[in-house]
């Protein structure tokens, strides 16, 4: 009976009818070890740590792999409250009690213990930092202690102390921000950021707490306070259980500003951030709501839906159906035992969830495909997709598919125009912000040495980017920032992100999204860093396929291309000849030759050799159009092509004038001679012969000269007889 119910619930998680925008993937990372006493998460190194009485096991969670094998360190026996590796992973720090932290060098196994000075204070926790002034921060009820770790002397030296009463604290390594709670209701906060520039003290602030009754004052708990990092900005989320609201605070260097309040439908709330998308887990309701905190809109991306569990696909295939097939056999054993949003679930920053009871670690994924399918708002969905970086390639494919769909469905031009605007703007920003793939990759790897690398590569990039125009814009934006100094526009950003995204950070400030670099470079790499779509790709994956699919009057597609060109023109994005050739083809096919003419004359269609030849081709049925092609060749100074076309149209004498004027020496005399001879006009033939005799010194002695002189004589004699 029980088993049956289990399988049913498993089936409902996997059922093809089930909708979800967020899923976890089987198999999970199993982190259960015999004799395990506890599981810890070291977010500085992104390590999941399990301890037994005398051993410490640590699994890397980035990159996430269910088959990852743990490292193992022997430790002395004793109680363990928390464990964190130093950021270079050479030292193990274990909090043994409320008063002592033990440090162990992993190579030499040397140990030493740090004790609290007085009995009255106790240690709330500690963390390692890459702040230049200190290595380790210990949070105590009496405040913060900053220490430098000395490996040679096996000691830590106190360098700074901040005295204040602390009830509890929250910290994420991602934000380098520690928030210290104080006060009766625990709603007064002091924040410090351990940035690369040193310690930054944030202004004190108070969180909003609704009162349930007149005399009861709710107390804020640590688990109701979350620090999240979204688009390089740091937010604090606070659950107000009385008001059933999730308050969102944004941190600036000199201010903390409450941004908005999101409704919640569960008293237990957890948050995750995946690819800058905020996931608010309504744990009691067992659903998750997605928000893209970027623009002004605070509307959820989609309706609340449950989280599903899916099979693990090794090929990292984008096909959902494939992943469902794999679901069936391989993963049932996990699914049967998995209780989504179970009591043992602990959400780890930013995108992991751990079932502590079973010792399973899952990584949470967004199903971009499902999200994009769930919205009918094409432009806003494209904006959302264009901001995705984690699965940039899929986001890009989905963007293209969405663009195709709205055109094939013949949605109103204004809607498609907006969609084009989004794509072009996104591409334009990706070109301007110019972040390399290398940097983004480095960002993903979490070791500190890699971060340093990423930083240096960014510096290189900025220097190299200075040569182009885009960089100027960026520089202006940057210098604009400086005098403001502590104005609210100066976003307090986490150190690493601030460095490795320095340029994107500034474009964000100026109110625009940031896109790493250049799609051509990205194409060569399977790991795209941006979903930005180049005009060329829009042609290849939107216009070209759509054009084949759509039948009937092409004026709709022409209208769309015009909107595309308008966006591109506004953003100063260069458009490939393909688009123009297609425009010419479409207009010629519907015999709108006079419109085509005005497109050419007003240079809506950018002149190029390719376009010129398309005009010549389309002009087979329409002389005016053919002449536009000829004129374009001439205006582009493609002398050789122009002359050949003139001769083809029978204007060989005019062609000769042109040859003379522009000294087009590459032309073959035979072309003209044949044309003149076939016209049966001896005067013209004589003129051509004479022309080339003057024009080129070798012509007189050539065989052609001889041949055509002979033909000319023949003509003349036939006339005289």
């Amino acid at each position: 009976m029980f088993g049956k119910a289990g399988s049913q619930s498993g089936a409902s998680f996997n059922g093809s009818g089930a909708l979800s925008h967020v899923y976890i993937r089987s198999p999970p990372l199993r982190c259960k070890v015999p004799g395990s006493r506890g599981l810890y998460y070291d977010d500085g190194n992104k390590l999941l740590i399990a301890s037994t009485s005398d051993q410490v096991f640590a699994w890397r969670t980035v990159p996430f792999s269910p088959t990852a094998s743990p490292t193992c360190d022997l430790i002395s026996e004793g109680p363990v409250l928390s464990i964190r590796f130093s950021l270079d992973v050479k030292v193990l720090a274990i909090q043994r009690s409320r008063h002592e932290i033990m440090f162990q060098n992993r190579e030499t196994k040397e140990c030493f213990t740090h004790w609290c000075k007085t009995e009255s204070e106790s240690i709330l926790g500690f963390f390692w930092t890459d702040c230049p002034t200190c290595d380790i921060v210990i949070v105590k009820t009496s405040g913060l202690d900053f220490f430098v770790y000395k490996s040679e002397s096996s000691s830590i030296n106190l360098v700074e102390t901040k005295r204040l009463n602390v009830n509890w604290y929250v910290y994420t390594h991602e934000s380098r921000l520690v928030l210290l709670s104080s006060g009766m209701q625990c709603k007064n906060f002091t924040g410090f950021q351990l940035s690369s520039a040193g310690l930054i003290r944030l202004p004190k602030f108070e969180m909003v707490m609704a009162k349930s009754e007149a005399n009861s004052k709710p107390v804020l708990a640590a688990e109701d306070t979350h620090i999240v990092t979204v688009y390089g900005r740091i937010y604090c989320l606070q659950v107000d259980k009385v008001a059933m609201l999730l308050h969102l605070y944004r941190f600036y260097r000199d201010a903390v500003v409450q941004q908005c309040s999101l409704p919640v439908y569960s008293s237990k709330i957890s948050v995750s951030v995946i690819d800058n998308v905020l996931l608010v887990h309504q744990v009691d309701a067992k659903v998750v709501i997605l928000y893209d905190i970027f623009g002004d809109s605070r509307a959820p991306i989609s309706a609340p839906l449950p989280m599903l569990i899916r099979g693990f696909v090794r090929t990292n295939s984008s096909s959902r159906s494939l992943s469902r097939e794999n679901d069936s056999a391989e993963t049932n054993e996990f699914n049967n035992g998995v209780s989504i949003y179970g009591d043992d679930w602990t959400f780890l920053c930013p995108d992991l969830v751990c079932d502590i009871g079973k010792g399973l670690l899952w990584k949470i994924h967004l199903d971009l495909e499902a999200i994009s399918a769930s919205s009918s708002e094409a432009a806003s969905m494209l904006e959302f997709l264009q901001r995705r970086k984690l699965e940039a390639n899929r986001a890009k494919q989905l963007s293209l598919a969405l663009a195709r769909t709205i055109i094939v469905e013949r949605r109103p031009i204004s809607i498609v125009a907006k969609a084009m605007d989004v794509l072009i703007t996104s591409y334009s920003h990706s070109c301007k912000s110019g972040i390399s793939i290398k940097a983004v990759k480095a960002e993903k790897a979490s070791s500190s040495s890699m971060v340093v690398q990423a930083r240096s590569s960014i510096n290189e990039l900025n220097e190299s980017a200075d040569s182009d125009d885009n960089a100027k814009v960026k520089k202006v934006a940057f210098t604009d920032m400086q005098p403001k100094g502590s104005s609210t526009s100066q976003v307090l950003s986490q150190e690493k992100a601030a460095d490795s995204r320095s340029s994107s950070f500034h474009t964000q400030v100026s109110g625009s999204s940031s896109r790493p670099l250049n799609a051509n470079l990205a194409e060569t790499d399977s790991q795209l860093s941006s979903a930005a779509v180049s005009p060329d790709e829009i042609y290849n994956f939107v216009f070209a396929p759509v054009e084949e699919e759509m039948t009937g009057d092409p004026s709709y597609l022409v209208a769309i291309i015009i909107e595309f060109l308008r966006s591109a023109n506004l953003e100063k994005v260069k458009v490939n000849a393909n688009h123009y050739i297609l425009t010419v083809q479409l207009l010629a096919r519907s015999e709108r030759y006079s419109e085509l003419g005005s497109f050419i004359i007003h240079k809506i269609v950018d002149p190029s050799k390719e376009v010129a030849y398309q005009l010549l081709e389309s002009g087979r049925q329409n002389l005016q159009t053919r002449k536009l092609g000829l004129d374009m060749l001439r205006e582009l100074s493609l002398h050789q092509d122009y002359v050949v076309m003139l001769v083809q149209d029978g204007y060989y004498l005019e062609a000769l004038q042109y040859v003379w004027k522009y000294k087009v020496t590459s032309v073959r005399p035979s072309m003209f001679l044949e044309a003149a001879a076939s016209s049966n006009n001896s005067q013209h033939l004589a003129a051509v012969l004479r022309f080339f005799s003057d024009f080129s010194s070798e012509f007189r002695s050539s065989a052609e000269h001889h041949t055509y002189c002979h033909i000319l004589n023949g003509m003349n004699s036939s006339i005289s007889t």
């Binding site: 109103p412 031009i413 204004s414 125009a417 009057d553 004026s555 709709y556 022409v558 209208a559 015009i562 909107e563 060109l565 308008r566 023109n569 709108r592 006079s594 419109e595 003419g597 005005s598 497109f599 004359i601 007003h602 240079k603 809506i604 002389l623 005016q624 002449k627 000829l630 004129d631 001439r634 205006e635 029978g650 204007y651 005019e654 004038q657 042109y658 004027k661």
Partner: protein
Amino acid sequence: MGLSAVDNVSEELQICIFDLRRGQYEGQELDKILFFFPVDSPFSVQLSVIGLSEGLITFTRIFSPEASCEVIEADKHSHVFYEAEPDIWTVMIVMKDKELEAVWRTEALRKVLKEIHSLFKMFHGSIRSLLEREPDGRLIRSSLFSFIMDYLKDFLVGKKLHLPSFRDSLQERGTVQMLTVGREAAIEVQSLVKTIEASAGVPTCYSLILFQDLLVSSTLHPEDTINLFTYAILRLSPHAMSPGVRSWSYLRKGSGATHPTVGTVSTSSSSISDVYGSLSTSGTDRNSTFRPLQSGKWARGKDPFLTTDIWGLEDGASSSRTPTAWLQEEKMYLCAYQHKSLTLILLLPVSSISNGEQGITAVKHQVLENASVKILKVEEKLSKGWGGENAYHVAGYRYLLVDGDRHASRASPPGKVTTLTKESLLALNTLREQVDLEKNRAKWDDPHKETNLEVSIRAKNNAWVIARLARGKELYMVLEKANETLLYASDAVEKFSNKYCNGAFSLD
């Protein structure tokens, strides 16, 4: 002041339209006359003019069945022929007099006849179709009468009709004048065009956009573009709609200077209408014909499209009926909208609007809803980029540039052309006459081959008068006070060609 009050007109100008297929028997000759100007000419005069014309046509057809008589130059008169429709001829007879500045270019006069017919056909349908509808000829006679009289009123300067003379050699009737816009504005315009045409919600729909008196965009067939453009300039553009404001469009020179007070021909001179009426039609019938060229009849409506009662009133309602026009054999509703200097004409097939005026109102509403923001934006953009009425003046040059492929022309502003001496203009007129001849001759030799031609003439007053024809484009130029060498003239053309014509005339 009616046209007919002009006494001396009959001496200088006669226009007649007749149908060779009618009145073939003795005693029925009057039947073939469809229109005669001056209207009060005695029938004997009318018959003798038409008899002569018919004789010449019949005679020349013996030699050239395809294209008979084009022009007869008599000692004192020129007879200009134009076969508007098969066997329906229009003939214009003008008096030649050097003293009175009566020096004409045949082709320019023929273009007037052509324009009359094209415009007539656009609003009424072909003459033949009207004749078939009412074989007694009443309908066509009354329609032609009111139409041509309204048309000719625009040529009235003071008490004289001013037909295009040698002074108008730097103009080309039957072409459109385009506004030059930058790429960005052009894209915005196209975006507007597509928005309008898409929001009309009918499968085929066309539009024409003008800025001031210049064409910005058209999705019509080139012929329809010319006709509708001409009509818009005559009656719909901001200049045409506000009498008293001088139109700077050169084609409108006559009417602009002294806009005739609108006294309708039929009512103001009953004697004439009696004469004409006795020939063809009773007064009541004529009142039922609509007069699309009647001036001062368009106004801004409530919707706020332009409105006119020319097409009559809606049955049982006070609102005006939506105008219609024939484009490429299809009857279209014509909706005109004006925002400041921007005039926007939307054409909807009558067949695709199922519920008449109601349907039109819905379409208008839809268009405004979707496009009004774009209309504002485009108007603003075009206004900003516009250089004023002398925008296309090129210092030192008096020119006319005709693009035969686009049916477009551009010329020195009329105000600048008036600075030329009479000698220069006469020389140019002669040159153009010759070029016209040359073009026609070449067309007969090989209709597919385009004439390329260069002529530079040193006129008696030491001005250079230049004509260039290259691959369908024509350039006419007068350079006064210029250096005497041919090299100088040629250089001047070359510079002009490179700067303003993308090097179209820079072959040599």
